[in-house]
């Protein structure tokens, strides 16, 4: 009786002990099922990624900033202004036919602005890069705000070369003549609360990079550019007009900036509304249309056809977005503005035989400028992290970010499991008492493992400095083969590391895998917030491969396992065009993708390869 009472009292007595017991039980349950949890996390993460284009996820876009009031104004851009644009176009075509140089073009544009009574100037610039020099001349004009001090500004820009084919040389003549005619037209209003800055940048993106660097006083070691003679205020928004064809059927929104930055969504939503309601021009994301005649197998019930079509269209958009954002490559000239905290996008007139032209684009730009003119502070209300699945639907950060985080958590769980397993080994010395509960502790030599990891990063740095030399760019085929061979043979040194006594210290391969997984998981988690598309690509490329790396006994098996990792780590060297573009982006525009791949991604995969090479 007393004993029973004592037990009851003991049970009730100490809540802390109860809590500790409960915690232990929970941890035990989790560790026992860790494998299943890991697989579930991977599965949910990848399925979530696959669901991003689904029309069931996401919601309709909306204007969040009260001040904008898009599409609430009458527009006065008229056929007379269209005629002006046509006249400018004739002159620009004359320049094109005479093969005018950059200076001649810029001088012509400056003169035209000056004729309108708007202060204008030109800017020469030269970029030096391993691929050779890039030079050109920008023209720009500043229309001061008639009734305020002009501490803020809006940019209306057009690049000489259109974004068609990522700047394949198609000229943006109609875009440039739109800007000139707009300058003539907008000057007549006295209601601009901000300065209007008209910029005609040379080439595709480098002209604007030079102009923006000079405008903001940003120092770039390989850029020599004239200082700007005309100054204005802080630029809040920029509209980049890209109108390469004769007419256009849709206006496409291009919004990705370099290094994965996006403009505030309010700007895009306002433009979308204005284009639709004021201009009567349908809006697209990018420059591909929704094709209604997708072949859907007949055995699928017709109720699902609409959804499948929507999924197919939206996945195209999402993939383009991933492509631009993950590579950190801006989808147009607007992408350069984002680094200076300027919200910008490109409106791309999708070349077609009709029905829209100067009349529609002029009215849309006029109304959009009235809207951005209404801003009282920088765009801040709406979203900066989003995926536009269609012009009128988007995903908030909460609906896509967890997918990559789940993968990263699964990797972290895997790494931690291996790390804690490394510290213990079943006690096999005493066979009689041997049971599942009998474990002995062993040491975990971290320093050599960190040394191996560090050397892979050093290798990445060497690789990166090698590919940024002009020697590499000029002899790309030879150089890339050479680099591929060198970088893939160096890790083979790991074969020389002798096997250790597993009862006293944990094997290096296991420790390396644990740290590799933990580090990769951390990298992915951090990148999700900065650049989701890059994080998602990393989660896909690293998630499973890093988790399944394992050492083996025989040499041939080790090498066989190592080979795919080398392919994963260094395969990009063979994509010569991509590589050249990425390097150009890095040198001229400061896009971080190339160094990131060399110094973070490749070493992580090489470490997984080393896990396979190292002794058991």
């Amino acid at each position: 009786m007393n004993a029973l009472r004592a037990r009851l009292r003991a049970q009730r007595a100490d809540p802390n002990i109860v809590r500790i017991h409960r915690k232990q039980a929970l941890v035990a349950v989790l560790t026992r099922r860790l494998h299943i949890i890991k697989i579930t996390l991977f599965l949910v993460g990848y399925l979530w990624m696959a669901a991003i284009p689904s029309p069931r996820l996401g919601r309709g876009t909306y204007i969040d900033e009260n001040a904008l009031g898009p599409g609430q104004v009458n527009t006065y851009w008229n056929w007379g202004d269209v005629a002006n644009a046509d006249r400018y176009l004739e002159q620009l075509e004359g320049l094109r036919d005479n093969n005018a140089t950059s200076e001649e073009r810029a001088d012509f544009l400056m003169t035209e602005f000056l004729k309108l009574g708007i202060p204008a100037s030109t800017q020469n610039y030269v970029f030096t890069s391993s691929a050779g020099n890039v030079q050109g001349t920008n023209a720009y004009a500043v229309l001061s705000s008639p009734r305020t001090s002009g501490t803020e500004a809006m940019v209306i820009s057009a690049s000489w070369i259109s974004r068609t084919g990522e700047g394949d040389g198609t000229l943006n003549l109609r875009g440039v003549s739109t800007v000139l005619a707009l300058a003539n037209f907008l000057k007549k209003y006295s209601l601009w609360a901000k300065d209007l800055v008209f910029v005609i940048s040379d080439n595709y993106v480098d002209g604007m990079q030079a102009w923006l660097s000079a405008y903001h006083g940003a120092i770039q070691s390989n850029l020599q550019a004239d200082e700007l003679e005309l100054a204005s205020g802080v630029i809040w928004t920029a509209l980049n007009i890209d109108y390469p064809g004769h007419s256009f059927s849709h206006l496409g929104i291009f919004h990705e900036g370099i290094n994965g930055r996006l403009p505030n969504q309010d700007l895009l939503n306002s433009f979308q509304q204005i284009s639709k309601w004021t201009g009567g021009v349908p809006v697209l994301v990018y420059d591909h249309q929704d094709s209604p005649q997708t072949d859907i197998p007949s055995w699928i019930p017709s109720a699902y056809h609409e959804e499948i079509r929507a999924y197919a269209y939206q996945s195209k958009n999402v993939l383009r977005h991933l492509g631009y954002q993950a590579r950190g490559r801006g989808s147009g000239v607007h992408g350069l503005f984002h680094q200076f905290r300027i919200d910008a996008f490109t409106m791309f007139g999708l070349p077609a035989t009709g029905p829209h032209g100067f009349h529609a684009i002029g009215r849309i730009v006029e109304s959009t400028l009235r809207t951005t003119n209404n801003l009282l502070e920088r765009l801040h209300a709406s979203f900066f992290f989003y995926i536009l699945t269609t012009p009128e639907r988007f995903l908030k950060i909460g609906s896509f970010l967890p997918s990559a985080v789940l993968i990263s958590v699964a990797m972290m769980f895997g790494g931690l499991r291996i790390w804690s397993d490394c510290a213990w080994i079943p006690d096999l010395s005493d066979k009689k008492e041997a049971g599942p509960d009998k474990w002995i502790q062993r040491s975990r030599p971290v320093i050599p493992v960190l040394g191996i990891m560090l050397s892979t990063y050093m290798l990445g740095v060497v690789l990166f400095s090698a590919i940024t030399t002009s020697w590499f760019i000029n002899n790309q085929t030879v150089a890339s083969t050479l680099l591929l061979i060198v970088v893939s043979t160096i890790p083979l040194c790991a074969l020389l590391i002798p096997s250790q006594d597993a009862s006293r210290a944990a094997p290096i391969s296991q420790l390396l895998k644990a740290l590799n997984l933990c580090f990769a998981s951390t990298v992915i988690s951090i990148i999700t917030v900065v650049n989701f598309s890059l994080a998602m690509s990393l989660a896909i490329l690293l998630g499973i491969p890093l988790s399944i790396s394992s050492p083996s006994k025989t040499l041939s098996l080790r090498l066989a396992k190592f080979a795919p990792y080398i392919g994963l780590a260094l395969g990009w060297i063979c994509a010569s065009d991509e590589l050249r573009k990425a390097l150009w982006d890095w040198e001229i525009l400061g896009v971080w993708f190339a160094p990131f791949v060399c110094i973070v991604y490749t070493p992580l995969v090489l470490q997984a390869g080393l896990v396979c090479l190292l002794p058991l």
Partner: protein, 390 residues
């Protein structure tokens, strides 16, 4: 001889008495009758002697153009109905007329098509821009001012003042934002009104507010003689009415628009009551449920003329000549409020006087009655004396 003279004496006395009895009604009665001949059941029972208006637009920025237009629309109405600029405190948190985004510089319009420029020729803004703060608003109401503040920026009301307080801006449950920076709560206004009552700064107040969840703003009032109305109940938004496509923003709010529309048919001599105004509210048109709070208000609403608050009174009370001082001054000439406590009884006397003025018989009339009866008595005495003598 006596016999001969007696009928003469009698005749004389009779005619004298007749003359006194038949004296025509006093001058004041004639005037009173003249002014009351048009009176009907809805006649005003207010006993205020001056009218004031405090009009507040608490939000700045170009896209809140409509709030400026709301306040200026009210300004135009009270001015048209007779409250002079000296009795109007107009607070505008921003200058929409001179905003660089205004396509029509120097003008503020409250309707698309821009028929009527509310910013016209004669605008007196007492507090503008950053001066429009919660502190200044409460100081205006309570009269707690620095000595240096000019009279034009003060609410110089007294115990016989009717005040119209109009507020518009962005608000919520029991608060109204000022300048996107600070907010005034329903309690602040209620306490300010109570302070005004205790300091005898008003006779009656009409509180009108157009903002989201406006009706919560008057829910905390506890001082007497306050009539309140708001544009939307709890959890309801108050909506804008129309926007002008050249100005590019909404130009007026619905609640204010329909009130102003109603007010356009009111003139200085209109006899419409506040009950009529409140009956004109149409939630279907306003897109929210306007509210009225009259439980603190002493008079039935159908006896409260709209001009009691929106108009400038021409009611003047003639004081007792004996004091040699006019108790209540005509509007605009009130003294600065003082904190003496003996004013309240004086007011009570004033109030009773005011009632005497309307209700006969007044004191001189009584005197005449006494004189007449005295004459009759004298006649009786004389007749008795003559008869007794015989």
């Amino acid at each position: 001889m006596l016999v001969v003279s007696f009928p003469h004496l009698l005749l004389f006395l009779f005619s004298w008495t007749w003359g006194i009895l038949a004296t025509t009604p006093s001058h004041e009665e004639i005037v009173g009758e003249f002014f009351n001949q048009n009176a009907h059941a809805g006649s005003s029972t207010s006993n205020h002697t001056n009218n004031w208006a405090v009009l507040v637009c608490s939000s700045r920025y170009w896209f809140n153009y409509r709030h400026m237009a709301n306040a200026l629309g009210m300004y135009r109405t009270v001015k048209r109905l007779g409250i002079p600029d000296s009795n109007i405190i107009l607070m505008l948190a921003d200058d929409a007329a001179c905003n660089s985004r205004n396509r029509f510089p120097g003008s503020v319009y409250a309707n698309p098509g821009r028929g009527l420029d509310l910013y016209g020729d004669n605008i007196e803004v007492d507090y503008r821009g950053y001066e429009v703060t919660v502190e200044n608003f409460i100081r205006v109401l309570t009269g707690r001012m620095e000595p240096s503040v000019p009279r034009s920026k003060r609410l110089l009301t007294d115990a016989r003042s009717n005040i119209f307080v109009y507020m518009t801006g962005h608000g919520g449950n029991e608060f109204l934002k000022f300048q996107d920076n600070e907010e005034i709560s329903a309690f602040d206004i209620a306490d300010a009104f109570e302070q005004m009552w205790q300091k005898k700064r008003y006779n009656e107040i009409l509180f009108m507010i157009d903002t989201c969840q406006a009706n919560t703003m008057y829910s905390k009032f506890y001082s007497p003689n306050i009539l309140a109305t708001g544009s939307a109940k709890l959890d309801q938004n108050s909506y804008s009415y129309e926007n002008d496509n050249d100005i590019g923003v909404s130009v007026i709010d619905r609640f204010t628009h329909y009130i102003l529309e109603y007010m356009e048919q009111i003139n200085k001599t209109s006899h419409e009551s506040m009950a009529d105004l409140f009956a004109s509210y149409d939630p279907a048109k306003i897109h929210s449920d306007p509210g009225v709070r009259a439980d603190l208000f002493g008079r039935p609403l159908n006896e409260v003329r709209i001009t009691d608050f929106f108009g400038g009174v021409s009611q003047v009370e003639v004081g007792n000549g004996g004091d040699g001082e006019a108790r209540a001054s005509p509007s605009g000439t009130t003294e600065e409020e003082n904190s003496s406590s003996e004013e309240r009884p004086a007011v009570a006397v004033n109030a009773s006087q005011a009632q005497q003025k309307v209700a006969p018989p007044s004191r001189p009339a009584k005197w005449r009655m006494t004189r007449a009866w005295g004459g009759v008595l004298l006649l009786g005495v004389l007749v008795g004396w003559v008869g007794f003598k015989r």
